[in-house]
Symmetry: C2
Subunit: 176 residues, 2 copies
């Protein structure tokens, strides 16, 4: 993780000691290329995430984990168990039980008995919660569009394409 | 942020109501494309981050914020003030003062008077801390290379290129 902001070690452009690279050098170069890609991706993600975090706070007075939690529930109208919800969160560091309690008090989510297991329960958005989220989601989408506006349509399409490929590989490699 | 995992609303491929798109439809499509790109990027980042988080714990018994903090210090041999350090962290949710205290107790970092301001102090890695980090960083780099190994060299180069462009735009747009 980590490591880059605006100053950044130039990990890829090491001097090339000879014409033909031996295997070890090639491996090192591949490692550096992957690290560079990862740091670049992480850096962009953190920047966008921080911007959205602060706009959510300023505009709606809510935290990013709260938005994330509602976003996950919005996709599962039948509700999610706490464990499923926690696995689906895209933002770390939020206290899921605490956020759920708070949203329940505000009437934005309800806990309902899990149809698959009477002793467990699921959390789902109320109609009011769905309405509240829809408003925020629209604004959120406009922010993302604004932040990514300087990138050409074709470049975005290419990024989506390459990142979809990456996602597929990551799912194959890390799903257990 | 949020919203996507393996199931994902197909935000971009909405039916096209006519041959010629009016401005509103084009705007909507642009928004959807940007959102899709953002969710795709976030999803890949979270996947890699989670994998690295669990490997750091299993292999070195350390947290991701601790690794991140040492990574930031490694790039500033003269040390960083707490405020600077906090701004540079790529991972949210870590207690920076707590991590620093712990690392100091283990002899991996020291607090030194800030040369620019006698009342403030900077944190820097000790020689031992630098050595400990170098070992972890090498393993970390190999993990990243392994996770991104299925992506072709040219595709990685293209991603680096496009993400560098994105990073530049984000810096221009959000730096204050």
């Amino acid at each position: 993780m980590a490591l880059e902001r605006d100053v950044e070690p130039d990990v890829e452009n090491k001097p090339d000691p000879g014409q033909a690279l031996d295997l070890a050098s090639r491996l090192t170069q591949d490692h550096h290329q992957s690290l560079k890609l990862w740091l670049r991706m992480l850096s962009c993600t953190v920047k966008i995430e921080n911007e959205i975090r602060s706009r959510l706070r300023a505009t709606f007075g809510i935290t990013l984990p709260r938005f994330d939690l509602m976003a996950q529930l919005e996709r599962y109208p039948d509700g999610l168990r706490m464990g499923e919800l926690s696995k689906r969160m895209m933002v770390t560091g939020g206290n899921i039980t605490g956020i759920t309690d708070q949203l329940e008090q505000e009437g934005l989510v309800v806990r309902v008995p899990d149809p698959r297991d009477g002793r467990a329960y699921s959390v789902k958005l109320t109609q009011e919660g769905r309405k509240a989220f829809a408003i925020m989601a629209e604004t959120h989408e406009a922010w993302v569009a604004e932040l990514l506006a300087p990138i050409a349509h074709d470049d975005k399409a290419q990024l989506i394409n390459l990142l979809s490929q990456m996602k597929r590989h990551l799912n194959e490699g890390t799903n257990r």
